[in-house]
Amino acid sequence: MQNREFTKLKRNLTALVEFSRVVNSSLDLEFTLNNLLLTCLGKFFTTKGCIILSIQNEMKLLCSKGLSEDMILVFPSLAHIENVEDSKELHDFLLQSKLVYSEKICSPRRCLGLLCLGEKINQQEYSTEEKEFLVTILNIASTAIENAMFINELKEVNRMLDSRVNRLSSLFELGKEFGVLSDESRISKLLVYSLLGHFLLSSYAVVILDGNKLKILESTVPKAPLLEVLSHVNIRSIENVHDRSGIEKNFPNLSKYKFELIIPMQLQGEASGLLLLGKRMNNISYSETDLEFINSVGTLAIISLENKRLFQEALEKQKLEEELEIAKGIQRNLLPKEIPKLENFQISAVSISSKQVGGDYYDIIKTEDGRYFIGIGDVSGKGVPASLLMANLQAFLKSITKQGYDIADSTRIINDLVSENTTDGRFITFFWLLLNDQTKEITYVNAGHNPPLLIRGKKITYLDKGGMLLGVMKTIIPYESETVQLQKDDILVLFTDGVTEAKNRSDNEFSDQKLENILTQKTFSSSDEILEEIKRNIDEFVAGELQSDDITMVTFLVR
């Protein structure tokens, strides 16, 4: 009898030593648990068993033998517990699985979980001796299990770190690449590839606001209907990420697309675009860190798209400025290089082009018989087109003045020519006069221009005889001309609306009244003085405000 006991004891000890050697030789949790469970099944003659461990405060069924797949699937979701009695769900689960006996697995530091065993094949209860033996086995195994769990946790942390590193390097790479890509579609495509790679998306759409225009850059769903739905959404006001329930609540029309996330791509606190992301193909839900990453990638992309847009704008602006320089050049070259010295007239002129370059023009053309055509005009519009029409006008004037027609007839012909040459609704207001230096006589035609002022003894006469402005239609009603005999000290001022419409900061105009006051309240000794006085008053009035129209004047003082 004693001998039998001894043999049994010896066999138990041998089993323990063997078991200890095996479980402590591996850090693989699965291997260790498997070994532990098999050892128990063999030792206690049972066909069923499982090991439940507490991992990150959650009870998990990690290893089982003899349990059906269906049983494993219904293992309840449980927070950390130490006794079967603490959880009715667990108690029921064990009952259903016919796991009749369980024992805690405890390391010296903490309770790791439970080992549960089924009925013994011989239907006998677990004896005290067997229970003690189980405790011993679990004590031996606990350290190995704890170590393996620790290694698993480390692996998990490592993996998370790898994932973070991977995301950071993605951000870095995208930042670099977005910087060199120049077109919108490449940027959005790359953004999509990156998100696809990271999240295995099943569906997606990338939407941006270009000014106020909504554009779908990428989409797995049909673009036109999506655009229609989104056109009713105030994109700029979307501040937060919306998940499935947020989408259903706030954007019910979008729910049919089954997007899981709407993430605004923000520029200076305002959404300039949206990322719409569907579910991940591995069925994992989006975590807080996922959202952070998507947000960062989205921001990078929208900044890059915005930069491209600004760059394009700057380019266009530069082109426009170059064009304006050209226009200014044309305009400068059209104006007379010098003003002729006359016997009975002092003449001064100025033309100041505005930032945008208007279409002001004045000219002095000497005829073969020694008289002078002096004209002032304002072409509608600005920039190069206005300058070109102005150049046309000058060419017409130069040739018509050689033909010997009277000034009214010449105006008719000019109007017909300009009308033929303008197709885009442009027109010219024009005034010109033919001056006889000997007789002090002028004959003028006013084609819709601000009437020049003739000041004689503080009294103003408006030179307004003429007809329609140039370029609107072919001449139907002939232009009228008027001849005026000038006298000593008469002042004549030709000007464009840039003078009287010069604006100050409060958007008030210099006005005809101010101009007339200057001319009637002072006595002038030279045409230069007249010009300077008007200019000084305008400068004072606008006080440095940039002018949108050219300012042009020709002043005469009769000697």
């Binding site: 790898d162 991977n166 790359l190 590839y193 998100l195 696809l196 790679g197 990271h198 193909m281």
Partner: protein
């Protein structure tokens, strides 16, 4: 700039794309073109040989995602083969093994199509 190139071979019905060098945000477009070419020609059975690929970034992985549905809905697939461990790690990290078949060698991947 990092170099990247692809070569294309056929083995029966199966199209083999060999990747060479660095597949990242910058070079992803090359792969995109290579796979689009196959789709244009109605070739949907693709094995990608990674043997000579030194580096892959998530944008590169995204390209495979972008085309997988087209291939599968035309009774084809993209199967991946012969990855270096560093490249496999990225695929593994981002959860690709769940969705893609990854083989140690090109032959095994081709054979899988022919089964």
């Amino acid at each position: 700039m990092a170099e990247f190139s692809t070569t294309h071979r056929e083995n029966g019905e199966v199209n083999i794309i060999e990747l060479n060098g660095y597949l990242d945000a910058h070079t992803a477009q090359h792969l995109e073109i290579a796979i689009s070419d196959l789709i244009v020609k109605n070739k949907y059975k693709v094995v990608v040989n990674f043997e000579r690929l030194k580096y892959i970034s998530s944008a590169g992985l995204g390209v495979f995602m972008a085309f997988i549905e087209t291939m599968r809905s035309n009774s084809g697939d993209i199967k991946l083969a012969a990855m270096q461990p560093s490249v496999y790690n990225i695929f593994d990290l981002l959860g690709f093994p769940l969705l893609y078949e990854i083989f140690p060698t090109e032959t095994e991947a081709v054979n899988k199509f022919n089964q």
